[in-house]
Symmetry: C2
Subunit: 201 residues, 2 copies
């Protein structure tokens, strides 16, 4: 959209909405009109919800998950299996595994994968804290649940080396995860099978 | 998404985002994660923008456009052609015509089209104010720029009857608008051609 047709307040709203993944300029305009039509039932609550989230949500200092609690609700939940840590790339992957209800273990969010070409090196990921956690006596297994991409797999190999001194079993998701696929797009059955058939590395 | 995996604040944010047109449950989760990652550069500004818009934006009492000004910036602009009113269904159609920069006239937003099956009758549309405006001496032409749908065309015919006593020329967009098409999806050339070749009814 080159030509501005609505007032600056509406244009700003459209411009910000267009920055959301999945919304382009046209769908951002439609979303803005929808919000303005549903001012009281949607726009005001969404504004409040975002403002609250922006204020309250923090990154869990232990696992890298996001939550309004710190440590997060998963790390704080003593009923969870404290002996196993599932390592994922992003919070969205953690959500995918939780939605599938296939494990009761703890998580560790790396915040990405190694990708030297993109300038992402070990020091850019949440690795030292993982090694620290894996070194505690209560933890007996680390399951590397990274995406089945080149970067994910090379990151897994790097983590196997780094975790070697920690005296824990290291496993990875079973084949069953399609090569090149991403966790967030898999069905729960595939995720469950992949966890069940995980292999020691 | 049946199983709630994030805290209630995040789940509420996702649920509200999923109500936007064009976003489903999955893309709403991705949008929420994106917002949380870009908390200061996107989530906070968007929250403020929505809160401001929800507070400030009003429906123009004259034409039915939305704006923070009342009457709206178009109705208040004395340089515009005061002799012609372009009648559209929705604000999005007004935006489409303004983006195409094909007319300098005033607008009138009906707020929908007649659709007895959906329970939308003349009294649900912004028609009395249109007749009032069309009856003023300064207005000499009313251009019916409704969608080329069955409902749009039957609404046009209804408006021709209602506007008959107003002593104005009544025109409609030229054929050139594809049958069944909607204004908001047309390119500027088509819109310009349709305005130029408008026909008296």
């Amino acid at each position: 959209m080159s030509h501005k047709v609505a007032g600056p307040e509406i244009e700003q709203l459209i411009a910000l909405l267009a920055k959301l993944p999945g919304l382009g300029p046209r769908s951002a305009r439609r979303a803005a009109l929808h919000l303005i039509k549903k001012r009281e039932s949607l726009m005001q609550p969404l504004a409040n919800s975002m403002a609250q989230a922006a204020e309250k949500i923090t990154v869990c200092p232990s696992c890298g998950n996001i939550d309004v609690l710190s440590p997060c609700a998963i790390c704080s939940d003593e009923r969870r299996n404290q002996t196993m840590i599932i390592v994922v790339e992003e919070v969205g992957d953690l959500w995918a595994l939780e939605r599938a209800r296939v494990s009761n273990a703890l998580y560790h969010v790396l915040g990405g994968v190694l990708s030297p070409l993109d300038g992402i090196n070990p020091e850019d990921l949440n690795i030292p804290r993982l090694i620290e956690r894996a070194s505690t006596n209560s933890v007996s297994e680390v399951l590397l649940a990274l995406n089945a991409t080149i970067e994910g797999q090379s990151t897994s190999h790097y983590l196997v080396e780094q975790l070697a001194p920690c005296n824990v079993k290291i496993s990875q998701l079973a084949h069953g995860v399609p090569v090149g696929g991403e966790l967030d797009f898999l069905d729960e059955g595939t995720l469950a099978a992949a966890i069940k058939a995980r292999k020691e590395m």
